[in-house]
């Protein structure tokens, strides 16, 4: 984190992060409550404690830039500009969810803001992102592609294939490893040979840096620098953002596989609290900080209530969006 917020514009920037990170936090806390109430369906992978990555990365992305995410993608999606109401509806499997209720949390996507989807398959989006960047380059567009994945993903083949591809074709893609130390119940350190994500990326020919992923300004400025190189056509870049998953792997996971003390210690690094501390130092009054939280919470409560009041999609909708040629609606197969 920069030493302190030096100027008004820094404060404004930090404040924006604070609000956004609270919106993300509130969205997921609301979703988890919805899960308890059995209104949110399917699995929810909360990113609580990781909001600084979403905020810091997306602060550098324009709407026409492209983002691909993971199963733990609510924060990224909100940060990219998606509407919480549509997202909440999606988590509840309702009409007018981003994906019309077909995808749910694990496939959350909003193409209208350049968010090309979470993915239910670990690492799958890495090669898709390489291809999206390939198209950007072929079409000589100015935008960039950013692909976020977890530290567990670096042990799947597509990590190698996608990074190598991006390096070979010098594609405008930023790879962001959101290193939260865990893959489900397993510590990734125990399952990863060598020195980790950044060393691997470099071995594939992709320069990169590591950053404290709970420090939103550090993430923001690291990404700014990396994207600068990338926007001049200097090929792909890599960021490893070290963070920690403060909750269980899913909403249903009590995460008993790690000591309480470890988690408590990590809560002290809560990225939202860290932003708040800086804002306090810069003289932002406590009431305003509380208002940011409350505003986010109110927004998400409202979204949730509206989503609850939205009907499920009509059954016939199940047959739409499959394919044009051989459309299942053409004949009841």
């Amino acid at each position: 984190m920069v030493e302190d917020a030096r100027s008004n514009s820094d404060v404004e920037r930090l404040r924006r992060h604070h609000r956004l990170m609270w919106r993300i936090r509130a969205f997921e806390e609301q979703a988890l409550r919805g899960l308890d109430e059995k209104v949110v369906l399917g699995a929810i992978h909360p990113s609580i404690g990781q909001e600084a990555v979403a905020a810091g990365v997306c602060a550098n992305l324009a709407c026409e830039d492209i983002l691909l995410s993971t199963h733990r993608g609510h924060g990224h999606t909100l940060a990219k500009g998606a509407e919480p109401l549509a997202m909440m509806r999606e988590l509840l499997g309702r009409e007018d969810g981003n994906c019309g209720g077909k995808g749910g949390s694990m496939h959350i996507a909003d193409f209208s803001v350049g968010m090309l989807g979470a993915n239910g398959v670990v690492a799958a989006n890495i090669v898709i992102a390489a291809g999206a960047a390939h198209a950007v380059k072929l079409r000589q567009e100015a935008r960039v592609v950013c692909c976020i994945f977890g530290d567990g993903a670096i042990n799947r083949g597509p990590f190698l294939e996608g990074l190598n591809w991006a390096a070979v074709f010098r594609l405008p893609v930023l790879f962001v490893c959101e290193d939260n130390a865990f893959a489900a119940t397993t510590r990734t350190a125990a399952m990863t040979g060598g020195e980790g994500p950044i060393v691997r990326a470099r071995a594939f020919g992709i320069p990169g840096v590591e950053v404290d992923g709970n420090d939103v300004l550090a993430v923001e400025s690291a990404v700014a620098e990396l994207l600068g190189a990338l926007r001049t056509g200097d090929g792909p870049r890599f960021l490893c953002a070290r963070t920690y998953r403060l909750t269980g792997h899913t909403g249903a996971d009590p995460a008993t596989y790690r000591p309480k003390a470890e988690v408590e210690a990590r809560w002290k690094e809560d990225p939202i609290a860290r932003v708040a501390a800086h804002l306090r130092l810069a003289g932002v009054p406590e009431t305003e900080l509380a208002a940011d939280a409350e505003t986010g919470q109110a927004e998400m409560r409202r979204a949730y209530q509206q989503a609850v009041a939205t009907p499920y999609p009509r059954a016939a909708h199940a047959y739409a969006d499959v394919q044009d040629v051989g459309d299942p609606r053409a004949e009841a197969y």
Partner: protein
């Protein structure tokens, strides 16, 4: 006999086989913590982390390593977590495991059990709900098993572990909590390739497997109430499948419904239906019928997800149609 869940029956089966044969081991992600559904709970404590081996997120290597380890005298049980993720390891399963014995002219066998939890499971959507058993039946070299009861999940898993061929072993996720009587005998086995007559009947044969068997049983009960006597066959193993049992039943009932959760088009139901149509055409009193999912991916929203389900009512209605007002 003990009352066990389908999940625990599989767990007990593996534990028994690991006790019996020190070359049996399991590998997969998060097994150390009991596996994602708890299928491995307690096994690390008994067998240690070498034999209940936590793996990186490397499906291709999990399966490929199992192939190599099987060639070298061990019997790996591979956990794929969701059958959908096994699609990250198809070369390893289809080009390697299934063909190694053949390509190498019998120099090696590949005794691997690949556990692939299948099927719909409350709003899991398109990448966590698939049933692709038909694929593996199409591949020479593979055995394909789809247990539907706790007892079968014990007896068939034990048979699979002892089998020298690569076995694709598909447990249905919605069956995990199902309870039933399971024999304690550590030598209790259910032979691969033998169907189970769930219910005898005269008027129509219903062939099914996996979770769909329970839905078909419901249909059969409804039909009984309506005076139609349905014979329900649980195939249990899809390759080899118990053709004699099915043909004998249809020779008797002269009507066939085959029903499964998977997509109907090019599903394994087509194989069963086509075989019966080929062999028993002249005996049939009604055309063979298949009931499976429409050719659409599985959705998240329940109203949409339900559209791919074959219901007991749907099966019963089809049976009534076939038997006619007679």
């Amino acid at each position: 006999m003990a009352r066990l869940t389908y999940l625990d029956a599989g767990r007990v089966a593996l534990a028994e086989e690991m006790r019996r044969d020190p070359t049996v081991w399991a590998l997969g992600e998060d097994l150390g913590r009991g596996g994602v559904f708890g299928q491995y709970r307690g096994l690390t404590e008994e067998f240690g982390p070498d034999r209940i081996c936590d793996a990186p997120i490397s499906e291709a290597c999990i399966l490929g390593a199992a192939v190599g380890a099987a060639m070298m005298g061990t019997r790996p049980v591979v956990e794929m977590r969701f059958s959908d993720f096994a699609l990250c390891a198809v070369d390893e399963l289809v080009n390697q495991a299934a063909k190694a014995r053949y390509m190498f002219g019998g120099q090696s066998r590949v005794p691997v059990v690949v556990r692939e939890p299948v099927g719909m499971w409350r709003s899991s959507a398109a990448q966590h709900s698939q049933s692709l058993e038909a694929w593996y039946v199409h591949i020479p070299g593979l055995v394909v098993v789809c247990p539907s009861t706790p007892a079968d999940n014990k007896g068939l898993l034990k048979s699979a572990v002892r089998c020298d061929d690569p076995v694709v072993y598909m447990e249905h996720k919605s069956l995990w909590p199902l309870e039933g009587e399971v024999p304690d005998d550590p030598d209790f086995m259910v032979p691969l390739g033998q169907a189970r007559i769930v219910r005898e009947g005269r008027d129509v044969t219903i062939v099914s497997w996996s979770q769909q068997v329970n839905i078909a049983a419901e249909a059969a009960a409804k039909l009984a109430d309506a005076g139609i006597s349905a014979e329900l066959i649980d195939l249990r193993t899809l390759w080899p499948w118990d053709k004699p049992a099915v043909l004998a039943s249809v020779r008797k009932t002269r009507r066939l419904i085959v029903t499964h959760e998977a997509v109907s088009v090019a599903g394994f139901g087509a194989e069963v239906a086509a075989t019966v149509a080929e062999r028993l055409h002249g005996d049939l009193r009604a055309p063979v019928r298949r009931l499976g999912a429409p050719r659409i991916p599985v959705s998240y929203a329940p109203t949409l997800e339900d559209e791919v389900r074959v219901t007991a009512d749907g099966i019963a209605a089809t049976a009534r149609e076939m038997v006619g007002p007679g």
